[in-house]
Symmetry: D2
Subunit: 350 residues, 4 copies
């Protein structure tokens, strides 16, 4: 972390939204039961159920996204099943083989702007069962998607419905990784609500870590879907002793629309940056509506940009271009944006 | 959690020591790298190395004790090895089969006040290799102990040295679960220092969760002992994205002797309670020097006590007695102790 | 293997019963489908179903006992469940941690002559659910027993019924390891039939390896109990490409009562040896009705015996005695028995 | 298995070469130690070491190919490592997720006629370490190839040397799946010998199942490469109790050049078929030198062919073609070839 650089490297570079700190402080000396059986966690569950407009959801809190992903996925898969995911999916290339470490194969489909299509899933499963040797292959048991995707794109309600329909037809669980869900929900033209996720997916997460909390993911599962889930969570070291800390954080995020405000702030900032990028004639590698920006530039430009701005190099585009990923967050400051915009303006002349 | 009861149920019922909150708040908006590569984590590592009086230790931070245990144990064991532990050991009966979920057998020895003896380990391993069919059995690869133990007792330096010697002779790794280490270190007559642990064990943890932090365990491993440890931690979902939060907490705990002060406060309180227990003629099931108190009483007395005091029923002693576990912490208040002492005085007449 | 010794070390020291070899030879050049879908396997399944007097059983063939055990057990357990077994159970100490390698804890009960009692299972499960922290513990999901046990003893029908009843009450699967089942079935006063096993257990094995085959275990499971079982078997490398070889062997074993004859021959031989043991005043450590003989003698006697006889030293009985295990088989020759009896007679004078 | 069809569906449709049966019969009543410690296994190991022209190889016998693959691969990989394989590799799509079930990711590279190229491996590993987030990814720890490949093709000595060099530079183990190795070794222009495999790979298998044995794979590993390998094999249920049966089979295969003769016979037969295929103007999808033949035809032709010939449909080539795989073996009879050739001749008119 070079402190002289202005960073757009990720959306988890700061601590937590100040309301969270203040609520942790305020409740600090109250005694509570451990392991998520405290009243703050219970209150947070209620808040989330209300936001989902359902009483038919079980809610558990875990510390991190990789953890939530492998715990839920391994809980839902049978030992002989694999999980279908985009090749760009977080579980496929960023979680150090966590899914495989629980014994399951990740069955990859080529992504389309980070998404997988209902039709491709259908075809994959039909080809599987048509294969005369399919008893010698990992059985597709689940579909993993992320909303927003790793490319910052969003499934539309129609796309999600189609996926969900295929999943139900083909007896696949549908799991939505919402590590950055705030940035989907807060996008003005997003039409996939929490309620839709409850109805269309078997399980999904509401990310805290990348959306204003110190840490934490709320895992929403269809009521009674996973028996003995507490034991499963415990077995994977994912049951926080002082579960209250997760409870307080999610209670706060789902009070006074804070989660939406956090998401909106990051999107507005990202929009401002995207505008300048277009104005300066750079190409957006993917035209995303959320807090992640993917811009194509030459390697020389990227090197120049890196002198003052921290970002992530997402992909190489041989021979001489790269995709630069810039991330905004609830905490991105106006003057940081100014520094970035100025650098972008300068890049034209590189 | 019945709020009307005064609780001595565990040492993780409150949030965090106020200095931790204050430091989290103070550093909140600084941007840092993720995954433990931030400057706060680095500073905390230095503080801990200083407390250990060594530069030859690698330090990683994880969120919880079960997590730290299975990540370290599975990282140190070969696929065909098991871990020797007391039958009362936390990994054997309180972690939902987490060790087995990573593929390893827990090889139990009968505990003596929560401890296992060097001689028993030696005998176990020699019997193993003497067995003509030992190639058909889990190979003992490691010894797990806890300091303090689940019974609140402590290994003396001499006991630990003997265990360590046997381990080295028999080619076993030695791992010390220090989930409550503050309460060992702060015991006035304790003679096992952090430096001793560095020298005698291959890996040990310094517990935060039960010793004043919101959460977190510092994992101390012999330098370069575990290659690719970051990947291993990541694979198990144990690499906190905002590692800074662990860094800030452990930095705080190891500044101005806070960790020792937290431990000492709980022990002093526990001593006061133990004195009254003896005075009232109750029997201590184990005479512990730390923050856990195990007292034998009749079931009737335990039921009576439970009307006003929350505690844990540790064991049944048929026909009609039980072992009651009372836990103090850094946050136990004087008036809570008063309520407990009064209840204990009353119990005589039950 | 010292060829000068007469061996009673195990019941798998020879190849296969000559009828098996002859049938393998006879069918050798016929072409069949692979992976157990051949007509010999199908015919063998029918033979076994007939012997079980049921059409409601699925039958799979695997190569070995450890393999069959962990494949079936892991297929029947949920990820958070453990399997209850006698501490003397084969899966607990002879299979190199195979069960744990599939992620499950073996929950041990003290054995009584190799058996576990229905009452102990009941108590164990009730204690489990009574434990206030049971969500932090491996959930008992199954009972593993062996018939005959590792100590050569047999469950009576009444004992098995009681176990089965407890299992159903407590929602536990019941699995019977029949690696030496021929020696149970052929015991004249045995009252547990294959039909009983079908009714009372969820799954059991019919051992071939130790009962006259080159190798192979028939796994009998309640109809449709395990979906995608072929894939599960394949995943564990337990699906023999030329499944026909297992088919031919089990077809042969279940034709003309060969399996019973093989068992009976070994028991008759063992009875003769047991008679002499008693006559010579040695103590049977366990008075078994099957092909395994456990006799207590001094270490000096055992050493003397080992000069001419190969056996297994089963247990040490400090200070100076040992338990010697002698095994007979379908292939034990009369002159081998004579050598053993003579040695036993000589031992008195040692 | 439609008995009216002449089958070229696989190379494991018959039992075993008659010399194997005869030797199993001849040794049947000799008593031996179990678990591969018998004299037949020892003699077989010596035969194989001689064929490899080395004394520096450890040799273990396992029952099947999937079993050998996952046992060796999981024994050689660290918990955080994955294995690089062609996307067409047997471990990737035909073993029901066996590798993943042991906790490891299969890292796929696009195949070139079933092979992977040294340059692609090099690039993959270099890209991995160049990735700024590589600590969040499965570490490449091994390369898996098969000789012959699943497409019946062969690595040349030069290709293998290059792969081996890259593996050593990049600290990757190299494992060669030789399930059909006889068909590589017996190819007249093959220049990769057993000695080369010993020198260039860390481990490889010599397949019995598909090359004339009832079953069995000899696993050759660099001397002392895998400590406690017997326990590892046992843990996976892969240690045959009557190991002698594997010993006798491999002893037979490596006596009087039987393994080569078996391979040669199948290749000669396949050559005859390939000649007719070319003569009839069909296209070989891959021009293979071994016992597997891949021929492209229209779906209509394939359907017609399937009326009298059993084969495997390997791939679809939209819109209307398919790849038909025909396999010969040591046991393919001349009149079967005649039937096939006649059918091929007829197909032209379809």
């Amino acid at each position: 972390m070079n402190e002289k650089k202005t960073s757009f490297a990720s959306d988890y570079e700061e601590g937590a939204h100040h309301t969270i700190i203040s609520n942790l402080n305020r409740t600090n000396l109250l005694k509570t039961a451990g392991f998520g059986q405290d009243e703050f966690s219970e209150a947070a569950r209620k808040k989330i159920r209300d936001a989902c407009k359902t009483s038919e959801a079980d809610i558990s809190f875990m510390v991190g996204g990789t953890q939530a992903n492998f715990v839920v996925i391994s809980a839902l898969l049978k030992s002989y099943e694999g999980v279908i995911a985009a090749d760009s999916g977080h579980i496929n290339f960023r979680e150090a083989g966590a899914i495989e470490a629980t014994g399951h194969k990740v069955l990859t489909l080529p992504h389309v702007d980070g998404k997988i299509l209902a039709g491709d899933v259908k075809l994959f499963v039909e080809d599987f069962y048509a294969n005369e040797l399919h008893e010698h292959m990992s059985v597709p048991g689940m579909v993993y998607i992320s909303q927003p995707t790793e490319y910052g794109t969003l499934y539309t309600l129609e796309e999600l419905r189609k996926l969900s329909t295929v999943c139900r037809e083909k007896n696949l669980a549908l799991y939505v990784d919402g590590a950055r869900l705030a940035y989907a929900l807060a996008y003005p033209r997003n039409n996939v609500t929490l309620k839709n996720l409850c109805e269309l997916a078997d399980a999904f997460t509401i990310g805290g870590t990348k959306c204003g909390a110190f840490f934490g993911e709320a895992v929403v599962t269809r009521k009674n879907l996973i028996p003995h889930f507490t034991t499963i969570i415990r077995q994977h070291g994912a049951l926080l002793a002082k579960g209250r800390i997760l409870g307080v954080q999610f209670y706060t995020l789902f009070t006074d629309d804070l989660y939406m405000k956090i998401g909106r702030r990051a999107i507005d900032t990202a929009d401002k940056i995207r505008d300048e990028i277009k104005k300066q004639g750079f190409e957006l590698y993917v035209d995303t509506p959320t807090n992640l920006i993917f811009v194509t530039m030459t390697e020389t430009q990227a090197r120049k940009l890196s002198e003052h701005i921290a970002f992530r190099t997402w992909e190489k585009l041989p021979p001489d271009k790269v995709v630069v990923r810039l991330a905004t967050s609830w905490a991105t400051k106006d003057n940081e944006v100014e520094v970035l915009l100025n650098e972008l303006r300068r890049l034209k002349f590189v």
